[in-house]
């Protein structure tokens, strides 16, 4: 069983440019990783003796809402710039330790490498992050919307500046 600081040191030695820093938060420390290299880091985490992270617990997208907020004519907000993040919570069923990784991508063109080939569990989680936030996962076998209808063209619902359309296929949406 390793602590998060030890895991961070091992990763920093192996991937000096891709693993950035460890954020020490009150609840759990988080390791920041480069979005285009998360694939290599995940393979290393899964296969190395002593780490053996064989299970991805959850993969979630978060809208950081740290860009500049402008107010439009009808009172609603639009956010320009800033980042979208993806959090990965990993666990080892054999050795019993856990780790949290985080990647940040720019809001205007969010692209992250897919980890679907490492853990098949990530397949649907990444489709949901794409559906709700618009984050594109490169080399995902089948990236399309999963919860919203396939022809939904009104944006990505869980972003902080999402505006609701009035009608969808003839049905009135607001109350």
């Amino acid at each position: 069983m390793k602590t998060r600081e030890e895991i961070f040191n091992v990763l920093k030695q192996e991937f000096p440019e891709d693993v950035f820093e460890i954020l020490n938060q009150p609840m759990e420390p988080i390791i920041m990783v480069d979005p285009k290299a998360i694939h290599k880091v995940s393979f290393y985490l899964r296969d190395t003796e002593g780490l053996k992270f064989d299970s991805l617990m959850v993969l979630s997208g978060v809208d950081d809402a740290n860009g500049e907020k402008t107010t439009d004519a009808d009172g609603s907000q639009t956010i320009n710039g800033g980042t979208l993040s993806v959090y990965y919570h990993l666990e080892s069923l054999e050795l019993g330790h856990k780790v949290t990784l985080k990647v940040s991508t720019p809001r205007d063109n969010p692209e992250v490498e897919s980890v679907e080939s490492v853990w098949r569990c990530a397949d649907w989680h990444e489709r949901e992050a794409y559906d709700m936030f618009g984050i594109k996962f490169l080399h995902h076998p089948d990236l399309r919307r999963i919860l919203m209808p396939y022809d939904w063209d009104a944006g990505y619902p869980l972003r902080k500046d999402y505006k609701n359309p009035e009608f969808y296929q003839g049905m009135k949406i607001p109350y």
Binding site: L147, P157, Y162, N164, M171, I173, Y175
Partner: protein, 164 residues
Amino acid sequence: MKSLLDQEFSDSNIVITKTEDLLNWARLSSVWQLGFGLACCAIEMMATSASHYDFDRFGVIPRATPRQADAIIISGTVTLKMATRIKRLYEQMPDPKYIISMGSCSNSGGPYWEHGYHVLKGIDRVIPVDVYVPGCPPRPEALLEGLLKLQEKIRNESLVKKTA
């Protein structure tokens, strides 16, 4: 006005009544429903069909296909993705057909009325509803009362005047 079985027969086994009453009595005693459970209210509908609050004693049997069903009980939240399919099922049912809207989600959107970007605020935006049963989820007794109100409505139908 006494119902058919409450009248006393002076001449054995000959009953004189109106055709309307006979047809309405036959229709309300065997409302076959399409087995259509969407969300939490479906579990209460299943509990109503189970042995404690038996639905079968009113003549209500679940059928698998809309072509053989008289009524749909819309139980649960209706989303935009599902609403188009419900409309198609409604059009596949033969006349006379009845809709019971069970639970607050299908009455008017329920607890998801404020920020639900994918929730249809009430099934009556898509198909016409006969009986609304309130509750979240409604107790089985409430659903039985909804069924009795539907039977009341069928009893007062007329062959001559057109319904929806």
